[in-house]
């Protein structure tokens, strides 16, 4: 047992090194970073963080990101729940084809579809709104949410549905008060994956926003090119993007591994 644990430890060290480097840099001044190599910050500074928390163009980036990620998660889960129920309980015309088609939506090269996305969302007058990004991210999040939720629902015995109907429950009431609570963990996992993929995606988020809904990751790219190369500030902003993810992951840690194990293929 002791010898075996070396592999995960070495792997985790490998994962932590670049992250350590980023965090260490965020406490250095840009001058110190550029002047040479140092393993720890020599002149420890919080200025980089101060800039981010006091400059609206920086902290609004975070608020925008969190807003559209939350809207996306809510929409994805809300529409994926009934669909996953249908896939898990019923057979209907074209169900298998539909399921595979949903999966294929992860495969379109986003890089080129970005331009048509821009035209589409400009045409419906949603350009530069949080809703636009939230809706666009549904493209790859809904299939994943359906996939995960269907797996969890498959684990709930069908007798539960039947008993509830015999007891005179209407379908909506059964679904909201009995069925959803019994797959709480699954909803948590699906929401986590929606959060994660929406949070890390940048290309579409950047294409569909200009000022009002600009994500933090886009703010970072812009600063890197216009204000020279403010490495310290960039590192601090990067470090702050890790924190929301880390918080969410801590809350769902017990369900992460389970999340995909129950998925169907």
């Amino acid at each position: 047992m002791q010898k075996r644990s070396i592999v995960p430890i070495v792997y985790i060290l490998f994962l932590m090194l670049p992250i350590y480097w980023l965090v260490a840099m965020s406490f250095k001044t840009t001058n110190e970073i550029l002047s040479g190599f140092s393993l720890f910050p020599q002149t420890f500074t919080l200025d980089n963080y101060k800039t981010i928390f006091t400059d609206p163009s920086w902290y609004w980036g975070y608020i925008n990101s969190i807003l559209y990620v939350s809207i996306n998660t809510v929409i994805s889960i809300a529409v994926a729940l009934p669909a996953a129920y249908a896939f898990s309980r019923y057979r209907f015309l074209g169900d298998k084809q539909l399921f595979f088609w949903l999966l294929t939506n992860r495969m379109a090269p986003a890089a080129v579809f970005a331009l048509p996305f821009f035209q589409l969302y400009s045409a419906v007058e949603l350009f530069d709104t949080h809703l636009a990004v939230a809706l666009a991210h549904c493209l790859f999040n809904i299939p994943l949410a359906v996939w995960i939720l269907e797996g969890f629902m498959g684990g709930v015995p069908k007798e539960l549905d039947e008993t509830a109907f015999v007891d005179g429950y209407s379908f909506p009431r059964f679904f909201a008060t009995i069925f959803i609570p019994s797959i709480k963990a699954g909803v948590g996992v699906a929401a986590f994956f929606c959060f994660m993929f929406s949070w890390v995606e940048l290309l579409l988020a950047k294409t569909l926003t200009a000022v009002a809904a600009k994500p933090i990751a886009a703010t970072m790219t812009k600063t890197a090119s216009s204000a020279g190369y403010e490495l310290g500030l960039l590192a601090a902003a990067g470090t702050l993007t890790i924190i929301p993810g880390a918080i969410v992951i801590w809350f769902v840690r017990n369900y992460i591994a389970k999340g995909f194990a129950m998925g169907r293929v």
Binding site: L15, L22, P82, M107, I142, V146, M196, A217
Partner: protein
């Protein structure tokens, strides 16, 4: 047993509407571009299949496609066995399980351009941790902005860093779902570790491994932001993967026609290979 019920379509309708809105309309726009030529001012001329011919015959496309396949092949051949090995050696229960899982999932939660920027700084020869260590401690001449091989090593390492955890989490999920009885039976039969892996663990991981391989294939085949931020496709064209080349044509040169044709060919290849993986790996379950 599932019940036959055509009304189930109504449950699927909202999903269908949302995904179709996002998938079909942009797709139609791209198809439209791929058969037309424009000289600006939104005036379009019918062009037929010329762009497709032009792309399929161009050396530039072949080179980018070759690099893309090489990249995806390397990613799968490294990440899948490595991920399985790490999952096998992880603890099954106790305090360390959630700690391991949280730490391992961390890289996946970092926005993709931050991943690229982070590795860019990390590998700078004189001021980055990895670059400094390789150049000044080990004395290896390593600079990914100059040397194509160093650039390749860097993008592959970055992807291994970023995504191996996905394979680990999935394999681990498959492993913990194996009942203890299987292991006890294997012990009584005197099975070797390899036999346990080959006949118990691997078959039980098959479903999740299918998902892992499919997701890794699709995502690595479409990878854009990270290598773009890291190397910008350089030095020269050595790390210009398919999607980077696509964006160069579409937004750099504004050749919308060829870019659209190229992305449709690209999409078709991704679809075909994913479908092959999907049918090959789920073949036994269909009966």
């Amino acid at each position: 047993m599932k019940t036959e019920n055509q009304k189930a379509w109504f449950f699927v309708l909202p999903v269908l509407a949302l995904v179709a809105f996002n998938a079909l309309i942009p797709m139609m726009t791209v198809v439209n571009y791929s058969v037309q030529e424009t000289f600006g001012d939104n005036v379009f001329f019918w062009q037929g299949l010329d762009w497709f011919q032009q792309i399929l015959r161009s050396d530039r496309f072949h080179a980018a496609l070759g690099r893309q396949f090489l990249f995806t092949f390397l990613i799968l051949i490294i990440e899948v066995p490595l991920g399985i090995a790490i999952a096998l050696s992880m603890p099954r229960k106790g305090f360390w399980v959630p700690v391991c899982l949280v730490l391992m999932a961390l890289p996946m939660l970092i926005p993709w351009n931050v991943v690229g920027a982070m590795w860019n700084i990390f590998t700078l020869p004189d001021i980055g941790l990895l670059g400094y260590f390789l150049n000044h401690v080990l004395g290896i001449n390593y600079d990914m902005t100059q040397d194509p091989i160093a650039a390749w090593v860097t993008i592959v390492t970055m992807d291994v860093w970023h995504w191996t955890s996905l394979v680990v989490l999935l394999s681990y999920a498959g492993l913990v779902s194996i009942p203890d009885a299987y292991y006890q039976a294997a012990k009584i039969d005197g099975a070797t570790n390899w036999a346990v892996f080959r006949f118990i663990q691997l078959p039980k991981m098959k479903t999740v491994l299918t998902i892992a391989i499919l997701l890794r294939f699709m995502d690595s085949f479409n990878i854009y932001t990270e290598p773009f931020v890291l190397t910008g496709g350089g030095p020269g064209n050595s790390t210009t993967l398919l999607s980077i080349d696509l964006v160069k044509i579409a937004l750099g040169q504004f050749d919308l026609g060829p870019a659209a044709a190229m992305s449709l060919i690209y999409f078709a290849i991704t679809l075909l290979v994913s479908w092959l993986f999907y049918t090959l790996m789920t073949k036994d379950d269909l009966n």
